[in-house]
Structures are given as C-alpha cells and as structure tokens.
C-alpha cells in the first residue's frame, strides 16, 4: 500500500509537470501568435474591433489580454521587470516617457517611413507630440482623451440654468442653485482620480515642474489657485467625499440624478449610452471644462484640459514587430476609428476620421456628444513628460485629499508637495547631471 501511495504521488507530480512544461512552451514561441494588451473598455471591444483584421490576416492569431486601468501601470512595469512583456500594447500617453526611458519601446520611425496608411500630418499635432520622446516616435496615437464635463441638462434647467456654465464663477453659482433644488452633491469628484485636479492646474499659466522637469513647481500661484478651487468643491459640499469603493455604479447614479456634473473622459459617452435608459439619452450632454476667467475677458471662457489618450506601442523584445505594426495600421484606418468611436465613445486622433461620414451621413464632428470634445481638443495641454509623472500625479492627489479631508492647510500642502516631488525626482536629477557631464 505504501508503494501505491508513492506511485500515486509520483504519478500526480508527473501529471503536473506537463502542466508546467506545456505552459512554458506554448504560445511563447508560436510565430503567428500576436499578444496584445489593452485596458478597460477598449479591451472589451477589441475582439469585435479586430475581427476585420483577423479576416484580412488569416495566418495570424491574436491574443488580447484585458488589464483594468487601476492596475495597468503596475502590470506593465512588473512585466518589464520580469521580462514578460507582450508584443504590443495600448498605453496611456503619460506613461510613454517612462517606458521609453526604460528602453522598453521600439522606435516606430522605420515603420512610419514605409507606411501608406499612417500620415503624420493628419494627426492632431498636440497629440502626436506626446508620442515623441527625445525626438523619436515611440507610439502611435490610438485615441484622444481629455477630461470634460458630463452634464444632466434637465437638472440644470430645473435649477434655472439653460446653458452649461463656461467659467468657474458661473459653475459655482450653478452648483449652489442645484443644491437649492435638492441635488445634495451636484458634482461627482472621486478622490482617487487625479485627472480633474490636473485639468484645473493645466488651465493655469505656468508649468507643474520646473528646471526641465527636475523640480516641483507646485508652490506657485497657478497651482495654488487650481488647488484652492478644487478644495472649494468639498468645502461647500458640492462634491461628496466618496472613495472609489463607494460609488458602485456611476452610470446608475448619473441616471438617478445623484449628481449633475461629472468630470470624466470620452469612454463614458459609450458607457452612458449603453447603460442609461432610452428616456434619459437626450437629458445629458458633454461640455468643455469651465475656465478660471469669465467669458469675454481675453483668455476667458472654457479652459484647457489634460491632453490624454492612449497610444499603441510595440515592445523592443517582441519577436513579431512587423505583425504588430500591421495591427497598428489597421487600427489607424479612419473607418476603423469611426467604428471604435461607435463602440466605445473614444475619439480618433486623426482629423480625417472626424470628418468621415458614416452610413447615416453624419460625421463625428457633428455628433451631439462628441462635438464638445472637438472644441476642447483645441485647448489641451499635456502633462509633464517625465518618467516619474505617474507617481508625482498620485502624490499630488494624495496631498490634495489630505488638504480636503484631513484639514492640512493650503500653504503646507503645496510646500510639502514640492518637497516630496523633489525627492521623487532626485534620481532623475542625478542621471541628467551625469549624462550632461
């Protein structure tokens, strides 16, 4: 009986071994398997979107991996550290400097030179610029993203506002009026997202980092103004102190009228169109972000917002770069970009895609919900292009939350933030100084 047990055990271990071996071998060496990492909603629609690509390239197999946005940055870095990166991926623009600094990305210029579908001049120049690091193209913009207001126009009308406010003062008045008509917290401002505060900060003159991205510049009049306005939202009770965990279903709450304003991006066009009932579809709209100065004053009216978006990158260690480029080219076709918009609400980075008319004869530029984005896209500013930016942005948000809820005073906040950011950038300073020498 003891021998049988031993046999059983050896047998089981033997069964397990092929499990390991099989996994280690399969997929990795297959020359016709293209591994593509995508995030969020884009990952959900990718199979549908790429069905056409698979039909055109029957020999090629696609493996699409979905990453949640909240863990994507982490997973990319972990994969880099563990030599486990895929062939290509979707990547937020703000992460490009970091991945380029690590030497993870394949420069795309050789592919661009030979391409017949991708034309640099057709892309919004501000967006194209975010994909160039040290003068080299390391990514191709896939969609543009900026933060805008999503508004329940019926709630605003009930509070006496026929038009969406276009400057800060008007916005504050509107929210006060909404509170008076029973919307307790008119603005949804999730405290774990740094983009709203970033957008407000980018509306100011001046940079967020100084000395070529070597030091923090948060102790400046511009950022102070932005932070002061941000904190006002919580002080006046316009925004609840909700954490990510607590807002179970944003679309549901938007539909229920728990809030009237939400600062978010174009993917929610698709989400709200999908999740809200038909009766509510004409009761919401997108509008450009109000700016600090009143309309009529030079530089007044709606302000700037974050120049975001995702790009498509090819990783340097990939064994299937030409195939990856083929997929990128496919996704950059105007017709495919239009289909992408219809599936997700994500906006194309090519002007020709905006102008392309669909079967209904309407182009994106004429779409009710997308047109505000077209307007905002003329006024976007990128975040600082330093590899440490993701970390700095999260620290910025942490300091702001502490100022809002832990009673830390504004001066202390901005000065403390600068100290922290300087510490984060210490290695970058050392490396820049070393290469300068």
């Amino acid at each position: 009986m003891a021998d049988r047990r031993a046999l059983l055990r050896v047998g089981a271990a033997g069964l397990a071994a092929p499990l390991l071996a099989g996994q280690a071998g399969c997929g990795r060496a297959d020359p016709n398997l293209l591994r593509f990492w995508a995030m969020g909603r884009e990952a959900e629609v990718a199979p549908q979107l790429l069905a056409g690509f698979e039909r055109e390239n029957p020999g090629l197999r696609l493996q699409i991996e979905a990453l949640p946005w909240s863990a994507a940055h982490e997973k990319l870095l972990t994969a880099f550290a563990g030599d486990a990166l895929p062939d290509m991926a979707q990547m937020g623009n703000s992460w490009l400097p970091e991945m380029a600094a690590l030497g993870a990305l394949e420069p795309l210029q050789p592919f661009l030179d030979k391409s017949r579908t991708v034309d640099k001049a057709d892309y919004f120049s501000g967006i194209w610029a975010t994909n160039e690091v040290a003068g080299r193209s390391v990514g191709l913009p896939w969609y543009v993203d900026t933060r805008l207001l999503f508004v329940r126009t019926d709630l605003l009308a009930r509070a006496g506002f026929e038009r969406v406010p276009r400057d800060w003062n008007g916005w504050l008045r509107c929210m006060a009026a909404l509170q008076a008509t029973g919307v307790a917290t008119p603005l949804l401002l999730p405290t774990q997202e740094f983009e709203p505060l970033l957008a407000l900060a980018l509306q100011q003159r001046g940079e967020l980092l100084k000395d070529g991205g070597r030091r923090g510049n948060f102790d400046s009049e511009g950022f102070r103004q932005a932070l002061r306005f941000y904190l006002l939202m919580f002080q006046r009770g316009f925004a609840p102190g909700l954490s990510h965990n607590q807002v179970a279903n944003v679309a549901q709450e938007f539909g229920r009228g728990s809030f009237a304003f939400y600062i978010t991006g174009p993917w929610n066009i698709g989400e709200f169109k999908r999740r809200l009932p038909a009766a509510l579809q004409d009761r919401w709209i997108t509008a450009p972000l109000p700016g600090p100065l009143p309309e009529g004053v030079p530089g007044g009216g709606p302000g700037a917002s974050v120049a975001g978006g995702s790009s498509l990158v090819v990783f340097r260690h990939s064994q299937r770069k030409p195939q990856a480029w083929k997929l990128i080219e496919y996704l950059s076709r105007p017709a495919v970009q239009q289909q992408f918009y219809r599936l997700t609400g994500n906006l194309p980075p090519r002007r020709s895609s905006w102008a392309l008319a669909d079967e209904g004869g309407r182009s994106l530029a004429q779409d009710r919900h997308a047109s505000a984005f077209a307007e905002q896209l003329e006024r976007v500013r990128p975040a600082p292009a330093v590899p440490e930016w993701e970390r700095i942005a999260q620290e910025m948000q942490l300091f702001a939350t502490r100022a809002a809820f832990a009673g830390v005073d504004l001066e202390e906040t901005v000065r403390g933030l600068d100290v922290r950011v300087d510490a984060i950038l210490e290695k970058r300073r050392w490396m820049l100084d070393r290469s300068a020498r």
Binding site: H73, E74, L77, T78, F80, A81, E98, A101, L102, G103, A104, T191, Q192, G241, L242, S243, H244, N245, Q246, A248, P387, R391, L398, T401, R402, F405, A406, K427, W430, M431
Partner: protein
C-alpha cells in the same frame, strides 16, 4: 537471531539521509535563504526602475535607504496603522477565540461538531473572496450593516470611506477571519486542564466566573502566550486586507508596512527602498516578539 545479510554501512546511511533532506533543504536554501541575503544586499543599494533597465544606473548607498525610510512620513503612518491593527486586533482576536473555545468546551453546549465547523469555516475561506464580500456588506449606502444600523435607529457609518472607521472595519474583518484557528488551539488546551480542579472549586462554592479566573486562565497562560506571539507576528504582516478592501485608503489610513513595501517594490520598483522596509519590518517583529516573551517571563516570574 539472524545475521544481517548486508549490514548497511554508516556511510551509506549518511548519504541516504542527505538524499532525504536534499530536496526540501535545497528548495529552502535556494528560494528562501539566498533571496533573504540578496534582499539585504538590495536594501543597501538604490535599485530602481532605471537600474532595472540598465545596471549602470545602480548606486551603492549603504544605510541610506534605511535613513530615508525612517524619515518618510508615510512609513511612520504605515507603522502607526500596523501597530493600531496589532494593538486592537490581537487582544480582540484572542478574546473571541478564547470565548468561543470556552463556550464550545462547556458541558452545556449542544451540537458541538456543527458549531465547531461553523465557527472555523471563515479560516479556510480565500481572503480575497471574503474581503470582496465584506466590502459590499459594509457599503455606506447599500450595505446590510448600515441598513441594520438604520433600522435600529443609528446613523449609517462610512465604514470603508471614513479614515476613522476604515481600520476598525479591517480589524473586525481580520478577527472574523482568523478567530477560528486560535479557538481550536484553546480548545485543546482547555481539554488539558484537569477536571478535578473544577470539581474542587465547585465544592468550595466558586461560581463559573471565579472558576474561569482562578483555574482556567492560569492554566492557559502558556498557550495564551504562544497564541499571542504567533498572532502578533502574523498581524504585523497585514497586507491582503488593505490591498483588496481599501487600497491603502482612505487618506492612507489603512496602509500597513507590508502594503508600503509592496507599493514601493512592485508598484514603483524602488527595490532598494522596499527591501529596506521589509528588513525594518522583520526587525520590528523580532523585537516585539522578544519583548512579549520577556514580559511574559517577568509576569510569570513575579507571580511565582
């Protein structure tokens, strides 16, 4: 008595013995001991994402990381959070374990196996899964806990969104998840207490509470000490609960030392800093457990 045909030589037995321990020992040496030593080395350098890309970017910083970590406000907050968790979680956990063990051992208890299984069940469940469940149960608007509070006339509490309440919620969760383990140990220890002590006390007129204080507790003292030390060392390694339930928030009130290590190491790839945090945690656990042992010796020595 038959003579052995081939008496195994001492040397052959030794090689056999080594063959027996070799697999386990090599796994432990290669995948535990070596990394621990490497970790010490890492903690003396500023290994980060730049170094990962190109080792030429590595700098040796000696104890610089330790100094830096000890100056990080977040480290002290994490330490404070962890100590808060240990200081309240361990006594609560042990009290609940002891209480349920006493109840289960009582002669008056019925359906003991059933109760024992029920009370032990949370221990074997997957932490990630039950953390998700608790997150929904303690939801500020739709959670059953707040609903129950409301129906009893109390105000709802923002369990996981209020910095004051987030850690207590995690403590409650950890106690719920883990009390079963110590309960079993206490049960075994209770069984070992001689019954005639209780008989004698009853004849002397002592009530149940007096019996508990003067017979049960002193006899359980060694077990209680061991359980306290094991639980304390375990609770200092708090990580999965904040990771799943609160992501260290709100306002970093649930960042534990290990969570900080994870973020520094696997989120931002500052491996030098993260290793320093890990070793500091190790030193803290060792000192605290040694302190507990010393305290116990003082207490038991004093009482003798």
């Amino acid at each position: 008595m038959t003579l052995p045909a081939h008496p195994p030589s001492r040397a052959r037995r030794q090689t056999a013995a080594w063959a027996f321990v070799a697999p386990a020992l090599s796994v432990i040496a290669l995948f535990f001991a070596v990394p621990v030593l490497l970790g010490l080395a890492l903690s003396l350098s500023d290994f980060d994402i730049y170094a990962l890309a190109d080792l030429g970017n590595l700098r040796f910083v000696g104890l610089g990381n330790y100094g830096q970590v000890l100056q990080m406000p977040l480290f002290w907050q994490a330490l404070g959070n962890t100590v808060y968790f240990v200081a309240f979680g361990v006594p609560l956990s042990i009290a609940v374990s002891l209480g349920t063990a006493v109840l289960l051992q009582s002669r008056l208890a019925r359906c003991k196996p059933l109760f024992r299984t029920a009370l032990f069940a949370p221990v074997v469940t997957t932490l990630v899964a039950v953390a998700v469940i608790w997150r929904y149960l303690f939801h500020v608007k739709y959670g059953l806990v707040n609903h129950a509070l409301l129906s009893l006339g109390f105000d709802p509490v923002d369990w996981l969104g209020d910095p004051q309440w987030a850690m207590p919620t995690i403590i409650l969760f950890a106690v719920w998840k883990n009390f079963g383990g110590n309960m079993i140990i206490f049960m075994a220890a209770l069984q070992a207490v001689p019954q005639d002590l209780y008989e004698a006390a009853r004849l002397d007129g002592a009530g149940p509470w007096a019996q508990f204080r003067h017979i049960t507790l002193p006899n359980l003292a060694p077990t209680t000490l061991m359980v306290s030390i094991l639980t304390t060392a375990g609770y200092f390694q708090l990580f999965a609960e904040p990771y799943v339930m609160t992501q260290g928030g709100p306002l970093q009130s649930t960042v534990s030392v290990l969570y900080l290590m994870y973020e520094e190491g696997f989120k931002w790839w500052n491996l030098g800093t993260a290793s320093a945090v890990a070793f500091l945690l190790f030193l803290i656990i060792v000192s605290v457990t040694q302190g507990l042992l010393w305290l116990a010796r003082r207490l038991s020595g004093g009482r003798a």
